[in-house]
Amino acid sequence: MIDLDMGKYVFYVWGSYGATAVALISLTIASVIAHRTQKRKLQALLDESRQP
């Protein structure tokens, strides 16, 4: 059974989980955006280089 009531430690426990979620999700989003941007930039340059 899941217990989500952290009693008097609510700030510390949820603060830890919240900080972890924010950090890991931000890192994931930033990495995915950087990857997509770089892929687009490289593709554009490759297309440009193939033009006669």
Binding site: G7, Y9, L24, L46
Partner: protein, 243 residues
């Protein structure tokens, strides 16, 4: 094997198809781990604050593991000049820095209710803070040097110097008086932690590891594309100047 994989094109060809599966495995493992974190019992002494352990300990383990990977990659880059080694080390640094920052932050949030302090200059906390500064220094140095070869060499030396700090972190609880307890999972006589708490911890540790591998592969691919872009841009500029 390492030399064979050090070819950037071969590396991309092998790991790009694997990457989505690692991402899905990480997401599933996080879901299972989070369920276990809140289904596990509270500690008889620490109460619900013991649940902070399931974030804090995997983050701390990864902070050290990622730096070790960075140090090994830097060693290969410096000695054998593998082109992928610097890329691998550079791609790992921001992820390791994030894990280290998380271990410091969650440790502080755990320390306040249990020890009555947000921060103490004890061996473990200070050495982890030093680790964080090594990560920041590594990234700053890489960003500051424009020439890729020089940047790779300088940062590899810095990363290898920082390796000295890893045993200090690990054994700080044995060497000095500290608020931290001794090892309770990796011990010669087996874990001293209750199985109800060990399982969520191990599942979350695996989730953190899988997330790292996924992010690392993604960032390596990004860096390889960035280098290819710069090389191609330079070649095109050179060709235009020739005309």
């Amino acid at each position: 094997m390492i030399s064979w994989l050090a070819n950037p094109e071969r590396f991309s060809r092998i790991f790009t198809p694997i990457r989505p599966y690692v991402g899905v495995a990480a997401a599933l493992m996080f879901m299972w781990g989070l369920y276990l974190c809140f289904a596990s019992p509270e500690d008889y002494q620490q109460g619900d604050t013991v649940r902070i352990m399931y974030m804090h300990v995997p983050a701390a383990w990864m902070a050290m593991a990622v730096y070790l990977i960075m140090g090994i990659a830097s060693f290969f880059g410096l000695i054998w000049r593998h082109s992928l080694a610097d890329v691998a080390a550079k791609a790992a640094a921001p992820i390791g820095a994030a894990f280290t920052a998380l271990s410091l932050l969650t440790g502080s949030l755990w320390g306040r209710p249990m020890w009555g302090t947000w921060w103490e200059w004890d061996g473990r906390m200070t050495s982890v803070l030093v680790l964080f500064l090594f990560y920041i220094g590594y990234m700053a140095l890489h960003a500051a040097i424009e020439d890729e070869t020089r940047a790779a060499k300088s940062t590899a030396i810095l990363a290898m110097i920082g390796l000295v700090n890893l045993p200090v972190i690990k054994f700080s609880v044995d060497w000095w008086n500290t608020l931290h307890q001794g090892a309770s999972v990796v011990r010669a006589d087996g874990p001293s932690i209750a199985p109800d708490m060990l399982w969520p911890l191990l599942v979350m540790a695996l989730a953190f590891k899988l997330l790292f591998v996924w992010l690392w592969l993604l960032r390596i691919d990004t860096e390889l594309m960035a280098r290819r872009y710069r090389a191609l841009r330079a070649r095109l500029s050179f060709a235009e100047e020739g005309n």
